[in-house]
Symmetry: C2
Subunit: 131 residues, 2 copies
């Protein structure tokens, strides 16, 4: 089963060489997926302990779907899988960064990245998309 070590206090958490993920009150940690080749940020999703453990073990990005309330192996239904080439964790270990080889679009709208709109004041534009 998934038994991670607990977080440490203060700067010890920043400097430890042990994985000690800090899950939030809902038992989740934020996960950013970045294209390993282009560096493009593809999406932000969430992992519970099981999803993080599976991602580490299988090398296939696995999240927790907050809307469906279930483990979500990315691409299992769409075929748009993410092969994880590297996992990074941030200073206080409440976020992970996945470098991935993305097959197909990362976004459920079939776009390459979920961040396809630019904020211009209160308006959004769609760079790179035809009118």
């Amino acid at each position: 089963m998934t038994a991670f070590l607990p977080p440490l206090s203060g700067s010890a958490q920043d400097e430890t060489a042990e994985l000690r993920p800090r899950f939030d009150a809902n038992g989740l940690i934020a996960a950013i997926a970045q294209d390993a080749v282009t560096g493009e940020v593809l999406m932000l999703a969430w992992m519970n302990a099981e999803a993080l453990q599976k991602t580490i073990e299988t090398g296939r990005a696995t999240y927790w779907s907050r809307s469906r309330g279930e483990i979500w192996v990315k691409g299992e239904t769409s075929g748009h899988t993410q092969e994880v080439t590297e996992i990074r964790v941030d200073c206080d270990q409440d976020a992970v960064l996945l470098k991935v080889r993305q097959t197909g679009g990362a976004c459920h709208t079939h776009r390459e990245s979920c961040f396809y709109r630019r904020v211009d004041g209160a308006a959004l534009s769609f760079p790179g998309e035809a009118d």
Copy 2:
């Protein structure tokens, strides 16, 4: 004051050309900061409505500090500011991506990025740092 339009339902939220941020139960939205020059992902932080509005208006990355419970103009005390060159929002508008020109280290540990440790099973390594 900060009065954003409310989120829309379903795919309308994905396709709208209006900024309609989806704040969570705590009134927060996730914000990823990415180096505009190198593409390196620097940090993940949080914004409330005021922080998002200030970031848009000032072009200077402004977050909500969950630990201190206050607005946090990045670099105000450290000098490690983030000049925002572009803001992106994701499909359901519950996350933003800031492209920034980072002065100094983005991390409070003075490292360039908060994601300075690589996950290798249950262990972490510090790529690029001397033993």
